[in-house]
């Protein structure tokens, strides 16, 4: 993995309200290290609506505009227009949305903004369910996973949406996946996205200890396993060109290594683990085809 210098600045302060081991807290800390002070965050309803702290506190050392669930990309479009008109072009407007706010309820506004190629960075912090409301399934929840609305005796039947392909097919200038287990890669991608103009999209996988039913010390290991099993390959799509990071090109581990340590998959039978592996292999082939084109 290409090493970059990790900036010393800390724009996530003490006293935030994230759960112990929250992947999204580490992701935010690393993201802000990369994006820097000249950033304004737009946060539609998600765990991060709560984590910065209630009025009159904020643990984030950049301005935050909290926004309606549906509206991350639309609110950011208006805010970016305002900053440009005020001559503050160097200030980055970054949306930080959950998977619900991106894959589900916010996808219309996001698609609209991407079609207009709004000059914003959209970050999807994906913890694979509605974690802030207590772990209900979203269209980012993997198949077979337990959630409170997909009980173990009737787990989710459909695989998650391929959000990166959806976004890349809007022909936006930059789309990438990243996870906090690979901070150098995450920071490099954030820095690259920051320098681009137009709609940029970064998909972060952020393990959630209570929602994934894992011990809090497991988040980093889980993100790494997600990459090493190709459940969550690291890659970027620039102007349509796919580059897969070397970490994801290594000989993969079987998905069982990833599934067996998570309570949300504890009910899986052998044939379901096999089915999951098949799905991961199929997705990898799709990605390789895309990379070859």
């Amino acid at each position: 993995m290409k090493r970059v210098e990790l900036p010393e600045r800390e724009l996530l302060g003490r006293g935030h309200l994230a759960c112990a081991g929250c992947g999204a807290a580490v992701s935010m800390r690393l993201t802000l290290k990369a994006l820097g002070e000249k950033t304004v965050l737009v946060i539609p309803a998600s765990c991060w609506s709560i984590i910065p702290g209630p009025w009159p506190y904020s643990s984030l050392r950049v301005p935050v505009v909290h926004a309606g669930f549906v509206t991350g990309a639309a609110t950011a479009s208006g805010l970016r227009a305002a900053l440009v008109r005020r001559g503050l072009e160097e200030v980055l407007v970054a949306v930080w949305a959950g998977d619900g706010g991106t894959f589900d309820i916010g996808i219309q506004a996001l698609s609209g903004a991407a079609e207009r190629n709004e000059d914003i960075l959209y970050i999807c912090n994906d913890n694979e369910a509605y974690m802030n409301t207590g772990t209900q399934r979203s269209s980012a929840t993997p198949c077979f996973a337990w959630t409170t609305t997909t009980p173990t005796y009737h787990p989710k039947e459909n695989p998650k949406k391929d959000i990166l392909a959806i976004m890349a097919d809007h022909r936006i200038p930059y789309a990438a996946t990243a996870t906090m287990a690979y901070p150098h890669d995450l920071i490099r991608k954030m820095e690259k996205a920051k320098e681009r103009r137009g709609t940029r999209f970064i998909h972060l996988l952020s393990p959630c200890p209570p929602g994934w039913r894992i011990p809090s010390e497991m988040s980093v290991r889980l993100s790494r396993l997600a990459v090493r099993t190709r459940v969550f390959p690291l890659y970027e799509i620039e102007e349509g060109k796919v580059t897969i990071q070397e970490e994801s090109l290594k000989e993969p581990l079987g998905v069982e290594a990833y599934l067996k340590v998570q309570g949300r998959f504890a009910h899986l039978k052998a044939h379901e683990v096999e089915g999951f592996q098949k799905w991961v292999d199929g997705e990898w082939e799709r990605l390789m085809r895309r990379a070859r084109c």
Binding site: P54, W55, P63, G78
Partner: protein
């Protein structure tokens, strides 16, 4: 300069003269000609605004919220289902104390699909924390937009300017379009102390726990209570500068009339004509136009109704299960009066059916004939 223009063109000229910075909108009949006209004005550089052509009404208002937070003067327009779709964002705008101006062209809600005039769309948003100003004619539409920005920005509250589908939106009238210089003296550039400063970390519209939420609502309510006075001052200044104005409520016709007909919106101009004719025939009737419905100008209405024996209201709207909304508001407003005139609540013209002079006359005759209404909801022109 006077020009013959439609109500929707009057909206566009009002927006242009207000030097709006950002427009975000999505098309819906009968609002569409507003966005078309504004697109033209922007494309030709006559209005130097950024126009975000978004993918929905919900995003239109969200984009205005983002831009207004960032310090821009913003505008959007919609109708009916579009306004209903914006409902959530209406709360975000008022809760965020953002002085956005929105034009709603009244249109009935489906099903059945109906594109015609009906005030239920805007009136069913009366609890969202927006000031609501209803217009009677195209000149008033243009002028109200200029006033709306003044009121909105004085109190950090959003304003909805409302006009009737087709009767105003697509009907041409002579409208005086004031010069830019004259408007500039009336409406200074937008500057808000709440504008987002990238160098000042902080949170907008974040989690507000039970310890504080009540106080935030209290402050919005207090600002709402200031609206009538601010609006009167703004209107007086407007009158001084432009030689015309619009009171929050306007009493017209015979001063000592014992029966008063209350209307809001374009139907008022028909009512004026009917009342003049009936007064000439010796009928004891006058008129009251209600321009502002939120906040409800109760004191002004009580003052205007003093001495009146019976009140008739024609509502071109319906709160299903209750009746006409303006009638309801009036009854609540008059409840604590010692001498309460009975309120005759008529509902007419839903879904764009014409409210003709005959319909208005029927309502007045009914009220003149009876001491009390037979029921709280009286239908006009209903085919049984």
């Amino acid at each position: 300069m006077k020009r013959i223009i439609t109500g929707n063109q009057a909206v566009a000229y009002g927006v242009m003269l207000s030097h709006v910075d950002l427009i975000a909108a999505y098309p819906i009949t009968p609002q569409t000609t507003i966005v078309e006209e504004l697109s033209e004005l922007c494309a030709r550089g006559r209005l130097k605004a950024q126009f975000l052509k978004v993918e929905s009404e919900h995003s239109a208002l969200a984009a205005c919220i983002g831009a207004s937070t960032g310090g821009l003067r913003t505008f959007t327009a919609t109708s009916s289902h579009g306004l209903a779709y914006m409902h959530e964002m209406l709360h975000w705008a008022s809760g965020g104390r953002l002085p956005i101006v929105l034009v709603n062209v009244n249109r009935a809600l489906g099903p059945g699909w109906n594109i015609w005039n009906d005030q239920t769309d805007s009136l069913s948003q009366r609890d969202t924390g927006w000031i609501q100003l209803y217009c009677e004619k195209n000149q008033e539409v243009l002028d109200t937009i200029l006033q709306a920005y003044r009121i909105a920005e004085s109190l950090s509250l959003p304003v909805m300017v409302v006009l009737d589908a087709f009767v105003l939106s697509h009907t041409s009238e002579a409208v005086d379009i004031p010069s830019e210089e004259k408007v500039e003296g009336f409406l200074p550039p937008f500057a808000s102390p709440n504008t987002l400063d990238p160098q000042r970390p902080g949170a907008y519209s974040g989690i507000t726990p039970p310890e504080y939420y009540l106080e935030f609502r209290y402050k919005i309510q207090k600002a709402m209570e200031e609206v009538p006075e601010v609006a009167c001052t703004v209107n007086q200044e407007f009158k001084n500068r432009f030689g015309r104005g619009y009171d929050l409520v306007e009493r017209y016709g015979k001063k000592e009339a014992r029966v008063l007909l209350v209307t809001s919106g374009a139907v008022t101009s028909t009512a004026r004509w009917v009342i003049r004719r009936m007064t000439e025939e010796g009928k004891d009737v006058g008129g009251l136009k209600v321009k502002m419905i939120r906040p409800f100008p109760c004191e002004e209405i009580k003052e205007a109704i003093r001495g009146v024996e019976k009140v008739a209201v024609i509502d071109r709207n319906l709160s299903l299960g209750v009746g006409g909304i303006l009638a309801q508001e009036l009854r609540a407003c008059l409840y604590h009066q010692e001498k309460k005139p009975p309120v005759f609540g008529f509902v007419a013209g839903l879904g764009g059916r014409d409210i003709t002079p005959e319909v208005i006359e029927e309502a007045i005759e009914y009220t003149l004939r009876r001491s009390r209404p037979e029921s709280d909801l009286l239908w006009l022109g209903l085919k049984r």
